[in-house]
C-alpha cells in the first residue's frame, strides 16, 4: 500500500479570497488522494469563528478586537476591493454565476473529503478566542510543533 502524500497549509490570512484559495487547493489535494491538513493561525482563525456566539476575551483589548473582528466564514472581507463590504457580496455573485461553491460550502466539502482543520492554540489565547467560539468542524487545537511535525512529512507545504 503506497503511502499517501501529505499536504499542509497554514492559513494566516482572514480574507475571503485567500481562504477560498486555501480550501480549493486543500479540496483538490484531498480529491487526489493526499492527506491534507490546514493549520489556522492569527487572522486565519476568523474563518473558523462562529457568528452566532457573542465575542469573548479576557480584557478590554481582546473584547474590542473580537467585536471589531467577528469574522465567520460567510462574512469575511476581500483583501482588495472590499468596498466597505460590497466587494464580498459582488464576489459571491460572480461565484454563484460560475457555479462555484461558497466558502462555507467548501469547508463542508473539505470535511467530507477528510481534510483536517487544526486551530492554533497560541493565536486563540492571544486573541481571546475560546473553543465555544469556533465552529465544531475544527478537528484539533494544537501548536506549532504539531504543524511542523506534519509539515516535515509533507510533500507540499503552503503559507497562505
Amino acid at each position: 500500500m503506497e503511502e499517501k502524500k501529505k499536504l499542509t497549509i497554514i492559513l494566516f490570512s482572514g480574507t475571503m479570497d485567500r481562504a477560498l484559495a486555501a480550501f480549493i487547493i486543500a479540496n483538490t489535494g484531498a480529491a487526489m488522494g493526499m492527506d491534507v491538513s490546514i493549520f489556522f493561525t492569527f487572522w486565519g482563525l476568523n474563518v473558523l469563528k462562529r457568528y452566532d456566539r457573542p465575542p469573548t476575551g479576557k480584557g478590554w483589548m481582546r473584547k474590542l478586537l473580537n467585536w471589531m473582528n467577528r469574522g465567520s466564514a460567510g462574512r469575511l472581507p476581500l483583501s482588495r476591493f472590499n468596498f466597505a463590504g460590497m466587494g464580498p457580496w459582488m464576489m459571491n455573485r460572480l461565484m454563484r454565476e460560475q457555479r462555484m461553491a461558497s466558502l462555507p460550502e467548501m469547508i463542508a466539502q473539505a470535511k467530507a473529503l477528510g481534510v483536517k482543520l487544526i486551530a492554533c492554540t497560541t493565536s486563540c489565547g492571544l486573541m481571546g478566542i475560546s473553543e465555544e467560539n469556533v465552529v465544531p468542524d475544527v478537528d484539533l487545537f494544537a501548536g506549532a510543533a504539531t504543524y511542523l511535525g506534519e509539515a516535515t512529512q509533507a510533500s507540499v507545504n503552503l503559507f497562505i
Partner: protein, 78 residues
Amino acid sequence: MPKADATLDCIGLYCPMPIIQTAAQIAKMAPGQVLEVLADDKGIATDMPAWCASTGNEFLELEKEGDEYRVYVRKKGA
C-alpha cells in the same frame, strides 16, 4: 472512443469541481470500469492526467469537440 460505464457531466463547472466529482464517482465504480467526464473548463486537459498520475487510475483518452472536452478514465485495480 472507449465505451463508458458511467458518464459525469461537469459542463459549466470550473476547477476543481470536475476533479472532485470524478474522485467521488470513481470511488463508487468497480475496478476496470471506465468513466466518461464531460467538461468545458480547459484545465481538465492537464488536471485529469495529473489526477490519474496521483491516484493510480488510468487516463485513457481526451476528445475535444468545439469547447467541450470528453475525458475517459479507467478505475485502477482490475
